[in-house]
């Protein structure tokens, strides 16, 4: 039983870290530019499609992944340059709507180019097997790789934001945009850089999740909402908050999905318990968010200066 709980915890951690990769970009963009970007989920989807195509071309997962990252980043920068740049000064409603338009565009674009059927990404031999992380607990290597990658990225982001000059500008931008601009920093360039970073992280999340779920149209739509939940729980603009909230949400949802059927199964018939448990575990996250917002309206770790 403990092993099972531990295994489910790892699964939750893995989902949470994928969410974190997405939410980090979203929360950075929000924190610095005060911009709600619904199209972030589309960048995640496009990243996954890029990876699927490049893996097919090069016949190598690693090579495909390495190609997909800059492709996703370029797409993000292009989107920022063409459409989003004009929206920073607008109110949130305009941003929500315009980026909603971008979602429609990207979903349809993917359907036109890659077809409606969805694509699969084949795993390399190296990552396809299982490893025994604890005695008696085999765990898929690939999921383990996701966890490692997620933690690596979290560490990288921490170092970037806390220890480098760029990170200093990012933090300064988040607490007072105008002042940073007035001090002679090219704020537009900073925005584009941050957006590119966020897009690359979204593409990374997309390509990592490709092999465990099909790459398909609209895969970004639902995960996007989950990401918003994460950054609202964590506190808008806070990377640390996004990390904690993402892991919390991932673990909560997975645990709910794994154990609620058994708990409900003791007083309902199995198929009914299954569907109900699935709905309940999806709802748990939103209930958590409502609770957090009622008790701490600015989130768990509100970013300083807002």
């Amino acid at each position: 039983m403990t092993l099972l709980i531990f295994e489910q915890f790892l699964n939750g951690l893995q989902i949470g870290l994928l969410l974190f990769l997405l939410a980090a970009g979203l929360t950075l963009v929000f924190g610095i530019m005060d911009m709600v970007n619904l199209a972030h989920g589309s960048l995640y989807m496009m990243g996954a499609y890029f990876a699927a195509v490049f893996v097919q071309w090069t016949d190598s997962f690693i090579l495909g992944a390495i190609l997909a990252l800059p492709a996703g980043m370029l797409l993000g920068v292009a989107t920022e340059y063409v459409a989003l740049r004009n929206l920073y000064a607008r109110d949130h409603l305009d941003q929500v709507l315009a980026t909603f338009g971008l979602i429609l565009f990207f979903n349809e674009f993917a359907r036109l180019i890659f077809g409606a059927g969805g694509m699969a990404i084949e795993l390399p031999e190296l990552l396809a097997g299982q490893i025994e992380i604890l005695p008696g607990l085999p765990y898929p290597t690939y999921r383990f790789a996701i966890i490692a990658m997620g933690l690596l990225c979290a560490g990288f982001l921490y170092l970037l934001v806390q220890k480098t000059r760029l990170g200093m500008l990012i933090r300064a931008g988040a607490s007072n945009r105008e002042m940073v601009g007035a001090l002679g920093v090219d704020i537009k360039l900073l925005f584009t850089l941050v957006f590119g970073l966020g897009s690359a992280l979204a593409a990374l999340a997309g390509l990592m999740s490709g092999p465990i779920s099909t790459v398909q149209i609209g895969m970004g739509d639902n995960v996007l909402i989950l990401c918003f939940v994460v950054i609202v729980i964590g506190g808008l603009g806070s990377i640390r908050g996004a990390f904690v909230a993402a892991v919390l949400v991932g673990v909560l949802e997975t645990m709910g999905r794994a154990f609620l059927p058994n708990i409900l199964g003791s007083f309902l018939n199995p198929s009914e318990a299954g569907t109900l448990a699935q709905a309940l575990s999806s709802m748990l996250v939103y209930i958590l968010m409502s609770g957090v917002l009622v008790l701490r309206p600015a989130g768990l770790f509100p970013a300083p200066g807002r």
Binding site: F30, V36, A83, N86, L87, R90, H92, L93, D94, V96, L97, A98, F100, G101, L102, I103, L104, F105, F106, N107, E108, F109, R111, L112, D221, I225, F228, V229, V232, L236, S271, E272, T275, L276, Q278, A279, L280, S282, M283, Y286, I287, M289, S290, L293, V294, P297
Partner: protein, 374 residues
Amino acid sequence: MLKSASLRFSVSTGVALLLLLALALVPVAAEVFDDPFLLTLFTRIVILALAAVSLNLILGYGGMVSFGHAAFIGVGGYAIGILAKHEIYAAWIQWPVALLMSALFALLIGLLSLRTRGIFFIMITLALSQLVYYLANGAYAYGGDDGLTILKRSDFGGLISLSDRPSFYYLCWALLALSLYLTHRLVNSRFGMVLRGAKSNDRRMAAIGFPVLRYRLTAFVIAGTVCGLAGVLLANHTDFVSPAMIHWTRSGDLIVMVVLGGMGSLFGPLFGAVGYLALEEILSSYTEYWKLLFGPLLVLVILFARGGIDGALGRGHGGILLGIIGGFFLLHGVHLYYDDAWAVPAALLMGAVGLVGLMQWLRLRKARKAGETP
């Protein structure tokens, strides 16, 4: 500053009344052209216009960006579906229950979400509507994610038969017209003034002594109930309810309708709903990938045409707008009646009309700018 929303006879009001009149003639047209699809399409348009009108009350006049409005369509629709499943068809039970459920649900969501503002309000309404979405997905007794088929429409006991499609259409039309009239009365009442005042500065309204939260909550509940009514109609129209109608992208569609038409104007949502759904219908008849065109179009509207259709009419761009729409419909007709070979010259002509419109718009803009700075 509050704009007077009186129903003085402006271009926009005239166009709106003509549009309502035209909508009233749809069943006749469907009969004459022997095209039942026309009636189906426009019933849907009228119902969604009703939902958009209700959203406009809180979004346009109240400044509350609710990104979960489709949840009320779901609550209203599911109330009908669930009662019908238990073989309760009497409208005298179904409709009040559905409206009461929508109102209670709006009260609950409003109480939770109105404590927050700005982006948090958008997010929490989104999250709470997702809650309803997953609830509907998990309601295995009522179809789960497959949805629930409604075997028999609401029964008004001989007063009106909802299965008779023209009667049903006229019921929807009358409710839409009624909702527009009531919105007009509401936003010009003292209540509406407080609501609009709170939109432009809620702290000042509170300082004057108005309990802003209570006013907002009341508006939220009214909007939720009217949207629940739209859900009731939609469930009766499609004879089917499913979680897909609550998905957050549906809420997005509703906001698009309101903003496309011009939020905070009485007839904006009507223009928006008709414009959005007619555009969807027309574009999708040309290409399966119509959203490829619609998505960027939406971005352009947000960037360059704030105020939407109603704003364009009010600024005297009505001629351009009507020209573009007229040209569009004309060429669409050409496309329908002839072969695809016509599509290319039609597109060229349409482009030309659009270009002329754009040039005139730029000219007007330039003239206005020159006039503004002495």
